[in-house]
Symmetry: C2
Subunit: 429 residues, 2 copies
């Protein structure tokens, strides 16, 4: 059996909240002396997600309507045994990958987009604003808003907007409005452009613009695709499904890998297993793969910083490159973020998660190997996880260990082929 | 339940060959007085597929290795109830769609690509040549050849090559060599370019070049992605799976729709049900949806013609626009073919299949409706089937009939977003 598939009834009924099981206290959000950042939260987030953000309940019920939308959008997703890749690597390891690319929007992002759109709709909201880097998140939120009969405005990092014109098209197809950030439509966007008319945009700037937009209209909320606790929570359907699927396969994981930008696909895949680890039911190595071009976990500082560039968010304790950091314009736009989920950061800081930085050329090489064996073209972000998964499998080849390696396949790369094109042409540095 | 999923064991063990059940005799292939076309066949096709091409056995066993590759590449594919689309249309009809887009290469084409690569490999062949229009076929054959450790050369219609640069990238990613046809590498390509240096290319020209390439090297075969009987045969895994899935859902089809270019996804989805129809087990309307820009079935002649432009193929009795016809450069490149599967043509001629031509703007409108309700972005080709499916469902709304409508969702449109972009911008004629 290659593909382990669950029925629609096997979609989890609850999200798993790791805040209930943290080994140390979660560092509370803070604000500057000028204040306002904490006051802003109820103006831009729904009651539903704010309650989840601070909750320490271990399990939180998934609303019926959200679960129904998960079903309709193709959950549960398959867990697949990568036999062709194993054969190619000639490794004794077993490699599994969880296919979040099978979502209609091509990545795991729809898991939280649907939930956030649902809770906003409950509050009578008419429009959501957000940022997007690579475009996976903006695509997911555009569709989720459309499914919930709301409007959606997406501030897309300008360098990505220009690199991939058809990302705009698919968001528009889902009824989203797409703007290249920095824009002239917000005060902060105008300020950034005044200082540097050629500013390539960053996730930090785009977040600032989207929050400013939401703060200016009480019928509008802001929605974040990663970093925050409620986003990690919503993504835990991934890991919970994977637990069931590995049980069907008769396996326990020895190594789990996911890529990290803001941390959400990593958290979604890993947190349910981290509970098993803390309960001493499994003995697994958890690896967070990040780009060496934006090495937040391996080279950033663990301290309080803003989630955005303008300083509109509360101060969050996380690994950070600094909120005004401009990462190089590489092809994994979804991992180009100065900060990190405070939950993932805490687990890294406590030594429960190993961070590993990987190089751009290496990750595309791994992506090509994966496509030529398993058939599916991974998103550049996902290639980071695959690279580490392959390295771990090759290590097993040396040691002869028959480890079970689980890679979270966060998304496909069909709208990110420029990176592969440059790689195949030898144009990447 | 939205998605009806089968296990890997439920992949059909045999292909269904409609040649055993035709209501009239199949019109034999012929050749010109100068001859050579029939003699050419064993030089460019494997023994396996040539035997299938002329077989009248009702069921032909799927080789173990091919079935294994089907599993590995994600078969069986889901059949999905389009509840959100039904609600949007406010129709009493039930709409199901068979998701051939879930193949790693994004369409049904891999079903025959794997089989053809397998049989060629059995004959000791080292490289396959082929043509591609939209690119779905060239992508599938590139991957299939790579899986079977063979090389692949793809002659891509120049207008499509230029319209969608990333199609080339994905074929290269799968190890395929991609050339914009007409090329200067074949005698026929040079002849075409000498007459018209700006020739946009056609499937007919690209087929001629690919055949010429294969004829010049005995270690090389040619592979066709549609039209021929063995291709229709390989695709019947689609319809056989759909039969099982509808049985699970407790449904019998009243209307089945698929788009037609060369006819293969239509044949694959419909032929197994056509047997049930001829056996009077069901009473179903079968509709072949074609573009009004290349109306082969609705406006072509039913007569003998070449499958390619140079006259290298045998003469085939089919509907045809003439083998030197140059269709307008619209966005459904996969349906821009002058001819048609002789099996599909025969069934249309006998009145067992209803052909229906639909307009480009209308099909993109239907594609947008589908994406905004069901989430998945259909290929422009697939939009033709969706347009007809929606029309049938709206007819049910008028009459109050609770028909079961099955649409073959032949592929996704993630590499064909330019068409949507032009549609959304109001730029299509």
């Amino acid at each position: 059996m290659y593909s382990i598939r669950l029925t629609e009834d096997e979609i989890p009924k609850k999200w798993y909240n790791i805040a209930a099981d943290l080994p140390v206290e979660f560092p509370a959000y803070d604000q500057t002396e000028e204040g306002k950042q904490l006051e802003n939260l109820p103006k831009i987030f729904s009651k539903g997600v704010l309650e989840q953000e601070l909750s320490t309940e271990r399990y939180i019920k998934i609303p019926k309507e959200v679960r129904e939308a998960y079903k309709q959008m193709g959950r549960p997703t398959p867990l697949v045994r990568a036999k062709a890749l194993e054969d190619h690597l000639d490794t004794p390891a077993k490699i599994f990958y969880k296919r979040e690319d099978t979502s209609p929007t091509g990545s795991h992002k729809l898991n939280t987009a649907i939930a956030q759109a649902y809770y906003a709709k409950q509050d009578g909201i008419e429009r959501l604003t957000t940022e997007t880097g690579a475009g996976q998140w903006g695509t997911a939120l555009s569709l989720a808003c459309n499914l919930m009969d709301m409007d959606c405005t997406v501030y897309m990092v300008k360098v990505s907007f220009n690199q991939k014109p058809y990302r705009k098209t698919i968001m528009q197809l889902y009824n989203g409005e797409v703007l290249a950030s920095p824009t002239t439509q917000t005060e902060f966007g105008r300020k950034v452009l005044a200082e540097n008319p050629d500013h390539p945009g960053t996730l930090g700037v785009a977040i600032s613009e989207a929050i400013e937009d939401a703060l200016n209209d009480e019928k509008v909320y802001y929605s974040l695709g990663s970093v925050l606790n409620h986003v990690m929570l919503h993504q835990t359907v991934i890991g919970q499904e994977t637990q069931k699927q590995l049980e069907i396969a008769g396996e326990t994981p020895d190594v789990m890998v996911a890529c990290v930008g803001g941390g959400s696909n990593f958290a979604g895949a890993v947190f349910p297993f981290m509970k098993d680890q803390l309960d001493e039911k499994i003995n697994c190595k958890f690896i967070a793969a990040e780009p060496s071009h934006c090495p937040t976990l391996t080279q950033g500082d663990y301290c309080y910083d803003f989630g955005d560039t303008a300083g509109l968010t509360p101060l969050i304790k996380m690994y950070t490159m600094g909120h005004d950091y401009i990462p190089p314009s590489d092809h994994a736009g979804g991992l180009r973020y100065h900060g990190m989920s405070p939950l993932v950061a805490l687990l890294v800081h406590e030594g429960l998660v190993e961070p590993r930085a990987v190089e751009q050329n290496d990750i595309f090489k791994s992506g090509v190997t994966f496509a030529r064996t398993e058939g599916i073209v991974p998103a550049p972000e996902t290639c980071h996880a695959i690279k580490v998964g392959i390295d771990e499998a090759l290590e097993c080849k040396k040691t002869g260990e028959e480890k079970t390696i689980v890679v979270n396949f966060s998304g496909h790369g069909l709208l990110d082929l420029k990176g592969y094109d440059d790689y195949l042409a030898g144009k990447l540095d």
